[in-house]
Symmetry: C2
Subunit: 328 residues, 2 copies
């Protein structure tokens, strides 16, 4: 099969289109003809060597496609089914004509979306769902701070929070991302974090109390400074995280919870992978009901992935970048 | 009224028996004739200046007694009721003939316990309950590591974990605390942490996986090292906490949650204080049904509190130290 392979770490040019054997599904796996995949920041981190993996490797941890083979223990799926889901993030991804999915963690593609849009949903919607609903356990009426609302994870998180009856404060920095958060996502407040101190602004918006929950999709200083506008008994969930920063000594009396969210855990560590199937089924229902939109800002071809990586590394994407593998 | 007052920070001798005006209950408060209170580590930390407070101050954040007055908004309580609960940890405690309780956060004294034993329950049982059930959300069948099982919080936590259908590994160091954990609490495994590396032993007991939940009641190195035997997607809850230590960079891929538990938050910050009333009502039911025991290892008098503080500071207590204020 045709696949984009990295055989060494480095800049985007290490991704080379070549031939690999078509994979053989394990007991619980589906072999899927990939129609589309997407680019996520994790792809560039693996490529750069910031997330250790064995090489050679095929990146691309999202897919939408059609089942062409089933492992011996697979139940409920048959050849010809349209499917979307995330390949195991420690194994080969979907930058290829065929890829494997854990059948338990996959779901029927939303019927109202083409493969290109469906392929942009799994990783970001599973991440946002787990972070907000399984880790923080957001509740109606809460005001949340969701960083980078115009990002891939962020734009789904803002919508899921609204669907739960939460108010959302989000951050953005460019005129077009600020406009997207305000006009498309209808965020309740958008903080231009380059020109405004987000901590001070969140406190101002919450009468000094801070917010009960924060979703950090940015890391670094955004992670550590966010604690300064987290309310008493607040939860902060990060998909990057690290050390807690200078205010950790205050966390006890503030009754704080910190969650490190790694969406790859369920499938990679075999921790109830069927939860991902359930969540994606719910995501598809929301999409088909018109309650959740995935925003695809650009479309790429398999033989042009290096350019796509350069684009996402500039951090200027709104929503998602789709990759077409087969014609729909 | 007679009260033990600290007017300056320092060694146990700063606690002086003297006279203070009897307090006047606020709208939601009960005025309680204190029959008994208990000594908790937080008393000594406040006295030493490690937990900032305004002085002068009466310590003692547990009580069992009889209602002698009710604030204007109090519902469901009347003069003469027997009550147990925790005074607000930022205000005057119960080392005095009278003390105030938030009526919403208090509960009927267990009918099968005298005041001396009842006064040893509120702070440790609320702490253990919140840590295990509200923060970690322990589930039947899990194996937990609960540090210092012979301690005040620890001995209640081990019992609550067993009542939830969990297995419990605990730590202790002296022959008598090891025997208490093994023979009285029936812990499933007791690690002599002075002579055994608890991380290595927990891994050995869990086939290398570590435990899904850890309750740290010790802090310092016990807190930071515990992460090394926390399973993937594990929760660690600490009542001391601080910085995460050297392995924090691994927490993301391990999908870890860290909870800082401060039992004083609900009443001090007015965050659903009625939850404490509900929890203590449940604790009283467990006690009256013979399912939960509070272990009182020594009894002290109000005029001998300095000696009690010296004793708890040596860290050699098993279970709780009770303080008699009035004859039962």
């Amino acid at each position: 099969m045709r696949a984009v392979v990295i055989r060494q770490l480095g800049d985007p040019n290490v991704m080379q289109l070549g031939e690999l054997p078509t994979p053989i599904p394990g007991d619980h796996e589906l072999l899927v003809a990939v129609y589309a995949t997407s680019v996520n920041p994790v792809d560039t981190k693996i490529r750069q060597g910031r997330r250790p993996r064995e090489l050679p490797l095929v990146l691309g941890y999202d897919l939408s496609g059609v089942v062409v083979g089933c492992g011996s223990q697979v139940r409920g799926w048959q050849v010809g089914d349209e499917v979307f889901g995330c390949p195991n993030v420690f194994r080969h991804g979907a930058n290829a004509e065929f890829a494997l999915l854990d059948a338990r963690a996959a779901a029927r593609k939303p019927r109202t979306l083409d493969h290109l849009h469906a392929a942009c949903l799994p990783l970001v919607s599973l991440t946002a769902y787990e972070a907000l609903h399984e880790r923080v356990r957001i509740r109606p009426g809460q005001t949340l701070l969701i960083h980078a609302g115009a990002g891939g994870v962020g734009h789904i998180a803002v919508q899921l929070a609204h669907l739960q009856g939460c108010r959302v404060i989000t951050t953005a920095s460019r005129p077009e991302t600020i406009a997207f958060c305000r006009d498309v996502l209808k965020a309740d407040a958008v903080i231009d974090y380059r020109n405004t101190d987000f901590v001070a602004r969140v406190k101002e918006l919450t009468a000094g109390r801070g917010v009960p929950a924060i979703f950090d999709t940015v890391g670094g200083e955004t992670f550590t400074r966010s604690f300064d506008c987290l309310a008493l008994s607040g939860h902060l969930v990060s998909i990057l995280g690290g050390d807690l920063g200078p205010t950790a000594a205050s966390f006890l009396y503030r009754n704080i919870t910190v969650h490190y969210e790694f969406v790859g855990a369920r499938v990679a560590y075999d921790q109830q992978p069927e939860r991902h199937g359930e969540i994606l089924t719910g995501i598809a229902q929301l999409v088909d009901a018109g309650l959740l939109q995935v925003h695809v800002s650009s479309e790429w071809a398999l033989d042009n992935l290096a350019a796509a990586h350069r684009e996402i590394e500039q951090g200027r994407t709104i929503g998602k970048m789709a990759v077409r593998v087969r014609a729909d």
